[in-house]
Amino acid sequence: MKILVTVKEVAEVEDEFEISGGDIAEQYLEYDLNEWDDYAVEEAVQISEDVDDVEVVTATIGPERAEETIRMALAKGADRAIRVWDDDLEADSYLDVDSKAELLAAVVEEEAPDLVLTGVQAGDEANGATGVTLAEKIGFEWAAVVNQLDLDVEGGVANVHRELEGGVEELTEVESPAVLTIQSGINEPRYASLRGIRQAQSKPLDVKTLGDVGLDASVLESSLNQTDLYEPESEGDATVWSGDAEETAGELAAFLRDKGVVEA
């Protein structure tokens, strides 16, 4: 069995930042493995540890810098990785959900996995739509926001819990092959061991261009344009206590006593 896990490197913004040229200036960004993808990788690796003959392949759309993140997924137990990037992608200013899903669909076509795991959303753009769009493109069944997975490999069914709002979970049987979007908390992602990190260096990481996966730049054409990016005007009018920690804690303590929520 083969499991494909989509792995995105996401940017995190520092506390203080500046915007230039319609984007957050590079020096204020730090890159990391998308939180939700970390859980998806872990889920795939756990399945590979439970079931015989499972290969875990990661797929990433991203520049060379993303390899650090990809090696992290390899160190945690994925077997090999695919990274799609080329000059056309580099030059593209806004990669929308449809283009991403189209690219990943081309990878799925080549790899023919039995199961695809993605994160529910990416921490930066937070579209939360790539996994289900991909499923529809490749004709797989799917389930979004999965926080429990019990795979019946023989029966070709994934028994999942979908985490709905308000502490309610939906129990669903999904026919495979399927795309499941994985919610945080489904498992406990492992730390990469030193041995894993060493081994990851020698695991295959294939870099492919659009042409290599049978596409051309037309896949990047989009009817969506990101026209502005700005810091939202603060709607807040919080009273912010100033001073050192003793002073501010003193203000807060006085406030809580005043309010009558603390008696001490």
Binding site: A11, H161, E165, E188, L229, G250, V261
Partner: protein, 323 residues
Amino acid sequence: MSDVLAITEHRRGELRDVSLEMVSAGRDLADQTGGDLHLAVVSGDVDALADDVNREGADAIHTVEYGEEFNHDVYTQAIEQLYAEVDPQFLLAPNSVNGMDYAPAVAEGLALPLVTDAIDLAYDDGLTVTREEYGGKVETTIDVEEDHAAVTIRPAEWPQAEGTGDAAIEAFDADIDESEIKSTVTGYEEVAGGDVDISEADFLVSIGRGIDEEENLPLIEALVEATDATLSSSRPIVDNGWLPANRQVGQSGKVVTPDVYIAIGISGAVQHVAGMKGADTIVAINTDPNAPIWDLADYGIEDDLFDVVPALIEEFGGEVPDL
């Protein structure tokens, strides 16, 4: 061609609040495009649900009777067919967990561009959608170049439509291909029960990823003890197994309405805010002046929690643990 079709949501027989917000968002947009607002109710007791969502602003309600509860294979087929029938310019769906489960498939099936989690919609010869990125630290605008598009609407951003509408309610006879139904909902499960009910508490001390490590939990527990508060948290704390699920505040956790809510090291992501915005007074302790929690906070301390919390414990005569 300039109509809007908005999909409503229900669960276990009840219309969900987001449905009434969809009516407002849909009305807003239909006013801008100069078209009608059509609503869709799919599955469940459609007549009762249609009556319920028939608020001021709705022009037509289409019901699709098929099964009791949400099934995305049914929704996808029903909505695609209804879209073909109504022929609207824009399709709106909630950015709820179920919306995330069918809207991308419907958009793909109908070859519509999809913009998710909208917090504002403006139409002027073309649609511009405002949304957030980086956990709410920035906003972006997305211009849609095509005439048609699908957009999912962030819950709790628009007001709930009120009044009684006079929309015509019509049954739509969707032709559901059962061989295409490849997922089956087998039941529901309530989680997050247990001894403590944070939704009953008057004073919540709530912690987020800012506390960094489980080893720092005793510091917060000392504050909770010294102030006789109830301890709650954002999702990462529960995901990490540091606190049980019944302590989680938010969209997938609990909705709380205390007199005072102290958010310590919590950024205020939308899914967290969904659970705590009803608190009477919100106090933030956070190092990041750009964290979205400041939009909600009534009071705050912009400082390191590891400096503030020990000082606070001492204010109340508690003992600061060695970490």
